[in-house]
């Protein structure tokens, strides 16, 4: 549904989403990368377990939460990609401790 416009000036970055290698470019947000995957969701609702995708892309809707480098409930639309970043889609409620 979404694809990245080619821009050869941006440095290539590699991260993993649920163990799958994904190529992207420096300056992108994690949410933008999630959106152009085959499965474009970021998390399952903590109440209904329905999949939720990044929506507002500006930090207010909290639908883009995912686990970034082991930290749960990160707003991926406010998080820039870094080389070697490990993204996991968040399934339900994180553990408290």
């Amino acid at each position: 549904m979404f694809r990245k416009l080619p821009d050869s000036t941006m440095k290539a970055v590699t991260l993993s989403i649920d163990g799958v290698r994904v190529e992207c470019a420096q300056g992108e947000t994690v949410a933008a990368v999630l959106l152009r995957q085959q499965e474009c969701w970021a998390r399952l609702s903590t109440v209904s377990q329905a999949p939720r995708a990044p929506y507002c892309m500006m930090g207010v809707c909290f639908d883009c939460l995912a686990i970034v480098d082991g930290v749960a409930s990160v707003q991926t639309c406010l998080t820039a990609v870094r080389d070697g970043m490990i993204i996991e889609r968040q399934r339900g409620r994180p553990e408290a401790a």
Binding site: T46, F62, S73, P94, E95, A96, A97
Partner: protein, 376 residues
């Protein structure tokens, strides 16, 4: 428009009384104010709490206990009688609750206070236990307690509920039993008439045989017109709420409560700041520190919201129930524990108002107690 009874105020107190009256086949009109009115019902923490209540007025302990005992049946009725498509799950649980103690001195002081209250009320059951830290760790394996937690008192009759769902269920219950609930109907006039009372709201005159004033902070002015002195003042309380996490805190506690959805509510404050409903960073920090004192691991949770509400506070903090001497048939009910007392309001108090007389055992809650001259 005529009704048997007009209830002014559709917060948790007024709505519970109106629901109880409507269930008893009285025709009820409930007049409620606007969205921007001060609404304690929308800011509540959601405890149905008994332990430690009424250290200097044991009848308040008895009243809280009576209501807590009535709560399970009240909750069953309120949700059970609703049609399936209109059911509001209250998220009510009664498994007991904790008040944490830091240090041996505080632990022993708490034990002494609860023991005295137990004796003063003539209780003959095990209403509380003092639990050492090891026992807390056994009962709440998911909680990492801070080093200063010595133990806690466990109140057997304590519980919790979603206060917003409670309010919604009460409103639905009033309508289901044929009552009328009118929003944006702030009362502009009130007087006794030849047969009962006349109330003016939103340009309409309503008349009824009886009148219940349960308008929270707005009650003082209304009661004065019915010849009753009802001193109430706002007391601000603030609450923080965290993101949703997997269940780990299995019992409600004073100041920490995990909801069914997984959020953790952290409270609270007692501030004398008049009618100021701002949430403040200073108090938010203090509440967070208090919670971390219980469990430092809570620091990992994100705070997603903070809010403030105004308690309906009386001079001695205890409820006011009164029927006017000057205008019999006019009643007042105000308190800051509308959730705990909801079951009592919807049953015993509604029954008494329907019968036209408050029971003698409620006399400790007559506001005449504030008029007694203090010894010099």
């Amino acid at each position: 428009m005529h009704a048997d009874i007009i209830v002014i105020g559709a917060g948790t107190v007024g709505a519970a009384i109106a629901y109880g009256l409507a269930r008893r086949q009285r025709t009820v009109v409930v007049l409620d104010g606007g969205d921007t009115d001060f609404r304690a019902a929308g800011a509540n923490f959601g405890l149905v709490w008994v332990q430690g209540k009424g250290p200097d007025l044991p009848p308040y302990q008895t009243l809280s206990r009576t209501s807590a005992d009535l709560w399970p049946e009240f909750a069953r009725e309120l949700t059970g009688e609703a049609p399936v498509e209109a059911k509001v799950a209250l998220e009510y649980e009664k498994r007991g609750g904790f008040a944490f103690c830091f240090g041996e001195a505080e632990f022993e002081k708490r034990r002494a206070m609860l023991t005295k209250l137990h004796v003063d009320c003539g209780s003959n059951d095990d209403d509380f236990d003092m639990m050492e830290r090891a026992e807390l760790e056994r009962l709440m394996p998911g909680v990492v307690f801070g080093p200063d937690v010595t133990g806690a008192s466990f109140g057997r009759h304590d519980g919790h509920v979603n206060p917003l769902r409670l309010l919604r269920a009460l409103h639905a219950g009033i309508l289901r039993h044929g009552g009328t609930l009118l929003r944006d109907h702030a009362v502009t006039g009130i007087r006794s008439a030849a047969f009962g009372f006349e109330v003016e709201a939103a340009g309409t005159i309503f008349d009824a045989d009886r009148l219940v004033l349960a308008a929270g902070l707005g009650t003082a002015a209304l009661a004065a017109r019915m010849g009753m002195h009802v001193p109430v003042r706002p007391q601000r309380g603030q609450i923080l709420v965290t993101e949703r996490v997997a269940p780990f805190f299995p019992y409600p506690a004073n100041g920490i409560r995990q909801t069914r959805d997984g959020t953790v509510l952290l409270g609270t404050s007692n501030e004398e700041v008049g009618f100021d409903t701002s949430a403040t960073a200073t108090i938010g920090t203090k509440i967070a520190r208090g919670a971390l004192h219980v469990s430092p691991a809570l620091a990992r949770l994100r705070i997603v919201r903070q809010w403030a509400g105004l308690r309906v506070m009386t001079p001695d903090s205890y409820p006011i129930y009164i029927q006017s001497n000057e205008f019999p048939g006019a009643f007042v009910a105000v308190c800051h524990s509308g959730v705990t007392l909801a079951a009592f309001h919807a049953t015993v108090l509604a029954e008494a108002i329907a019968a036209g007389m408050l029971p003698a055992w409620l006399s400790p809650f007559h506001p005449g107690r504030f008029d007694v001259p203090k010894a010099a």
